[in-house]
Subunit: 364 residues, 2 copies
Amino acid sequence: MVSISVYLFFVLTMKTRMNQDIEQQTAMYREAKEAPDYVRWQLDSNKGPISELAADLRREKPTLIVICARGSSGNAAVYAKYLIETQLKIPVLLSSPSISSIYTAKQNYVGHVVFLAISQSGQSPDLLMATRSARDSGAKIISIVNDTKSPLANTSDVVIPICAGVEKSVAATKTFICTLSAIINLVAEWRQNDELLRELTTLPALLKTAYAKDWREGLNKLMNVTNLFVVSRGLALGVAQEAALKLKETCGIHAEAFSAAEIKHGPMAIVQKGFLVFIYSPQDQSQESINDMAVAFLERGAQVLSVGQHYQHALNLESTVTCSPPLRPLLFIQSFYKFANALSLARGYNPDSPPHLNKITETI
Amino acid sequence: MVSISVYLFFVLTMKTRMNQDIEQQTAMYREAKEAPDYVRWQLDSNKGPISELAADLRREKPTLIVICARGSSGNAAVYAKYLIETQLKIPVLLSSPSISSIYTAKQNYVGHVVFLAISQSGQSPDLLMATRSARDSGAKIISIVNDTKSPLANTSDVVIPICAGVEKSVAATKTFICTLSAIINLVAEWRQNDELLRELTTLPALLKTAYAKDWREGLNKLMNVTNLFVVSRGLALGVAQEAALKLKETCGIHAEAFSAAEIKHGPMAIVQKGFLVFIYSPQDQSQESINDMAVAFLERGAQVLSVGQHYQHALNLESTVTCSPPLRPLLFIQSFYKFANALSLARGYNPDSPPHLNKITETI
C-alpha cells in the first residue's frame, strides 16, 4: 500500500514537472514572464518625457479625455477610464472607432480634449481614422503604442512608448501589462501622486511575485467547461475583461466578464447549479458588492473559482494584495497569464497561435 | 402513405397552433405586442415638451452628453450613443455608475454637459447617486424614465416619460422599444431632422409588421444550444446586446454580443465548426464588415442564423428594412422579442419570471 502511494506520488510529481517544462516553452509563458523587466525599462526610459507631458497637461487642463482602442488595448482603456475618473476626476469617453471609420461622423470637440489612442501595433485602419478625425477636430493626440514607428505614432502629438519589446505570441501579455503601467505612470505624474509614483517603482518586484503564484489546482475545474463568467468591478473590471478575452483566445472557453453590479441586471439568471464563475476580488470599495454576488452564486450551487478573497465552498486561489488598489489588477492578470497558458496547453490548444487570429488585427 | 402525410401535417399544424396559443398567454408576448400602441401614445403626448426641450438644447449647445443606465436601459444607451454621435456630432460618454456610488469621485464637468439618465423604474441607488453627483457638478439632468413619480424623475431638470404603461414581465420589452423611440424623437427634434420626424410617425405601423414576422423555423436551431454570439454593428449594436441579454434572462442561453469589428480582435477564435452565431444586418454602412464576418464563419462550418441579409448555408429569417437606418434596429428587436418568448417556453422557461431576477434591480 505504501509502495503504491509512493509510486503514485512519484508519477504525479513527474507528470506535473513534465507539464511545467512544456508550459515554459511557449512564447506566451516567456513573454508574460518578461513583463516585470520591461515595466522596469519603461519606467526608467519614460520618466522624463511623461513628467514633461504631465506638466503640460496640468497647464492645459483638459476637460474631456477620449480613449480609442480595441481588443486587449480596449481592456486597458477600461482600466484607464476608472483610474483617470477616480484619480483625476476628468470624464473619460470610450470611443467607438466606427463613428469615424464607417459613419464618417466627425465629432465636435469643444474645449481642451485629449484623444488617447492605445495600440500594440499602431496599425488598425479604424483606429487611425478615428485618430485623424480627432486631430482634425482639434484634440491633442497622445498614443500609447508599442511600435513607435507605426502610422499611429506618426499621427500623434505625443507618443508614450509601451517599451515591451517584440511580442511574438498572438495573445498579448507583456504589452497589456506594460500598457497598464504606462497609464498608471501618466496618471500618477499628472496628479503628482508621489505615493503612487513611489509604489510604481516596486511594481516589477510585485509582478515577479505574482508570476510565481501557482494556480494549478484551478486547471481541473476549467478542463471541460464550455462557458463561464468572470466577475469583478470598478478598477479591476478591465483585467476581468482581459481574462475573459484570453480564455476565449487561448483556451476555447466562452468567458464573458461582468461587473458585480451589471450582472444583477439580467445576466445572473443563467448562473445556476454547476455554472462556473471566476471571481476576482481587488479588495477595494467594490468588495462588498462582489462578496454579495459570490455568496449568492455559492448558495445556488454555482462553482466559484476565487482569487483575492476566501469563500467557503469555493476553490480559493492565492493572490498578492500587498499594494494599493491601482496596482492590484496588474498582479492579478500577471498570475492569470501563467494560468491561461497552462490551461490552454492542458485543453489541447497552442496559446501562441489561436485559431483564425493574426498578431496584427486590422479592422475598418 | 398519403394518409400518413396528411395525419402528420395535421398533427404538426395542431401542435404549432397549440404552441402559439400558449406563447400568446405570457405577459412578455402581450407587452411586446403593445409596444406600437405605446410608441404612438408617447409620440403624441411628448410632442410639445420634446420640441421645447430640443429648442433649449439647440440654444444651450451642450459640448458633452453623459449617459447613465444599466441592463436593458444600458443597451438603449449604446443605441443613443451611436445615434447622437452620427446625427448631432456631440461626443457621448457612457458613464460607470460605480465612479459615483462606490468610489465617490465627483467628476469635473466643464462647459455645458447634459447628463441623460435612462431607467424603467428610476429607483436604482447607484443611478441616483451618479445623477445627484452630476447635478452637483453643474450638468443639466434629463431623464428618460417610465415611472414619472420615481426618485430619478424627481432629481431631473427635465423628464421624458417613456409612456410604456405598466410592465409586469421581468424581461423588459415595450419599455425598451419606447425608450428607443423617445431617443429618436429627441435627437430628430434637436437636429430638426424633418425626414426622421416624419418617418417616426410611421414607426407604430412598422413595429406591428415586425411583430407579425414569424421566426419559428429558428427555434429548433436554438433548442439545445448552451452559448452563442450575437453579431451586428454600429447603430444596431445596442439591440444586438439587448437580444443577447434576453437570451440569457429568458432562455438560459449564454449569448454575448459583439460588433463585427471587435469580434475580430480575439473573440472569434472560439467560432469553430458548429458554433452558433446570430447575425443581424441593419443594411447600413456597417454591412460590408458584417458580411465579411458572416462569410468567414460559414466557411469554417459555424451555424449562422441571419436576420436582414441572405447568406448561403445560413438559416435566413425574414426582416423589415423599409425604413431608414435609425429605425431598423427597433424593428429587429420587436420581431426578436416574439421569438425569444417562444424560445423561452420551448426550452421550458417562464419568460415572465426568469430565475433569480426581480423587476426592479437595485445596485450600489
